[in-house]
């Protein structure tokens, strides 16, 4: 694995800016990989061994993705919308998993780790680089049961919505009134059709 500064530079470029969240995310990902014994997770063969669950969709999530190489489109990155600055790193071969949570108290320690910097944003950024892992994170070994339908790899499960005909992959279909339906048809969705092709919610 590349060194911290190289990874941070690459992560900031990929994300669009350098921020405290990038520092937290890069360090979180490096520690997650270290705990799992993965030193080159972005390339074969290790790229197939890692699954990461991120619990927030903010800057740190991009950093975790950059360092580890996990991607939504490869199904190696899972987003769990908990609003918590945390990620769980799962080794698919050994089953070992560690959940790393950013400590809220780290923010209050920033002035101790970077007292010479006055600007709060810059102070946090630098302090999170220098901070001990213990002050920055809590780490817990956990067990994650990964569903077969959540695994990376070729599509193994397909169903057809009996209302709209849409193909539903990876066992996301539901049974409602004895009909196999996609979730928008069965449960409604985040969007409302405007045009003529209105999708009937059944």
């Amino acid at each position: 694995m590349e060194d911290f500064e190289t990874l941070l530079k690459g992560s900031a470029e990929a994300h669009g800016h350098l921020c405290p969240g990038q520092v937290v995310g890069v360090r979180m990902a490096m520690e997650g990989c270290r705990l799992l014994g993965l030193d080159n997770p972005r390339e074969l063969p290790q790229i197939k061994k890692l699954l990461v669950y991120v619990e927030i969709d903010r800057c740190a999530a991009d950093a975790v993705s950059f360092v580890t190489g996990v991607k939504l489109g490869r199904r190696s990155l899972k987003f769990i919308d908990n609003g918590i600055m945390a990620a769980t790193f799962v080794h698919l071969e050994t089953g070992k998993a560690f959940r790393i949570v950013s400590r809220e108290t780290a923010r209050g320690l920033a002035h101790e780790y970077a007292p010479e910097i006055e600007d709060k944003h810059q102070q946090q950024l630098e302090a999170y680089k220098r901070m001990s892992l213990h002050d920055l994170f809590t780490v817990e070994e956990v067990r994650v049961t990964v569903k077969a339908s959540d695994m990376p790899g070729p599509t193994r499960f397909k169903a057809v919505c009996q209302n709209c005909g849409q193909v539903v992959r990876d066992k996301r279909e539901v049974m409602k009134n004895d009909r196999i339906l996609c979730r928008p048809c069965a449960l409604g969705s985040y969007f409302e059709p405007i045009g003529t092709k209105e999708k009937k919610h059944v």
């Binding site: 049961t145 990964v146 066992k171 049974m175 409602k176």
Partner: protein
């Protein structure tokens, strides 16, 4: 039942000859005071780089798999079985444990089993699957069933026969989602209407229905007056109502007029009485897309009644009729256990 065929798919070999072979089991590494876990997982192909570590772990001999083209390891087999058995709302882990996989609920709802197909599946060679009862209300991640191949290595033809059978009978297992039904309640009884006693039915009905995701839109208290009850039901029918529930007045006393009130209100399909105790004087009816349930007063005393058996089915969009109410007879006797363990008991498990 067929007997299991014996397949000799394992060999014992010295570790130094193991390069290129496939491990038949997990190899556990124990580092004193630090860790214990699989250093190599079952199915791992051994490389020359692994030999030193295996020897350091004190492994002089290994079991390796020697599978023929028509043989499938139990862990691979069970993934195929689980995929074929699991319909909508049923999911399973990607990692079998000891050749077995548990099927679990992906969302809350009503668990349904194609019982006949499940039985036939278990008549096939070298496979098994056991489940909880059909029509059980289940929560997310609740265990529903478990399946496995019986031998450590199963013949491809036997596995294919089981998988194809499950696919032809898809879905053998499914979870039907509960719908957020709009419910309106009529509490009947002169004693409650006149304030002689305080109603307790509303709280019971509200808790049981909202637990399953329904919404109690409205509740009224009426005297034992056939016309008033009938008028109120028709009033509810004019509103957006999925389920009307009446409480009390379902028995044989002269004041028990709720059933007559329901009959007057336009419900075409009415099924009165059920082979369940408590709950024999239960009424279930339908008018267009609205269902009605007449709950006997036993629901005030008994924690679990026929209401707990039929409500989940209505919530899941089922339309039980007289035959379904009669089928409940086998398993329809509540034993009044203290404490009540329902649904983990025989009550309502007619199978």
């Amino acid at each position: 039942m067929y007997r299991t065929k014996k397949v000799k798919a394992f060999r014992t070999i010295p570790v130094e000859e193991a390069v290129g072979t496939t491990l038949a089991h997990d190899v556990t590494e124990v580092i004193s005071g630090e860790s214990k876990g699989p250093a190599f997982k079952k199915g791992h192909k051994i490389t020359s780089g692994d030999l030193c570590r295996l020897m350091r772990m004190g492994k002089n001999n290994l079991y390796v798999l020697d599978l023929g083209d028509d043989e499938v390891h139990e862990d691979d087999a069970v993934l195929e079985l689980a995929a074929a058995l699991s319909g909508p709302g049923v999911t399973f882990s990607a990692s079998p444990a000891e050749g077995k996989l548990e099927l679990r609920a992906d969302y809350p709802g009503l668990f349904k089993v194609n019982i006949q197909a499940l039985e036939e599946f278990n008549m096939l060679r070298d496979v098994m699957c056991a489940s909880i009862h059909t029509y059980t209300t289940v929560k997310t991640n609740q265990s529903l069933a478990a399946t496995r191949a019986i031998p450590l290595v199963i013949h491809r033809t036997d596995l294919d026969a089981a998988v194809n059978f499950a696919r032809e009978n898809y879905p053998i297992f499914s979870v039907k989602i509960f719908q957020p039904l709009k419910i309106r309640l009529i509490i009947t009884g002169n004693e409650v209407y006149n304030g002689l006693i305080q109603d307790r039915f509303k709280a019971i009905v509200e808790q049981k229905t909202t637990d399953l995701g329904a919404v109690l839109e409205e509740a009224v208290i009426l005297p034992d007056d056939r016309d008033m009850i009938s008028w109120q039901i028709r009033n509810y029918l004019e509103k957006d109502t999925d389920l009307i529930i009446t409480t009390g007045g379902m028995s044989v006393d002269p004041d028990d007029v709720t059933k007559a009130g329901i009959e007057d209100s336009g419900f075409e399909q009415i099924h009165y009485s059920a082979a369940v105790l408590p709950g024999a004087m239960f009424l279930l009816g339908y008018h267009k897309n609205t269902a009605i349930m007449g709950l006997p007063a036993c629901g005030l005393y008994h924690r679990t009644t026929i209401f707990d058996l039929i409500l989940p089915r209505i919530m899941a969009g089922e339309k039980p009729g007289s035959r379904d109410l009669a089928r409940l007879s086998h398993g329809g006797l509540c034993l009044n256990c203290k404490p009540c363990r329902f649904p983990a008991c025989s009550f309502g498990k007619s199978g």
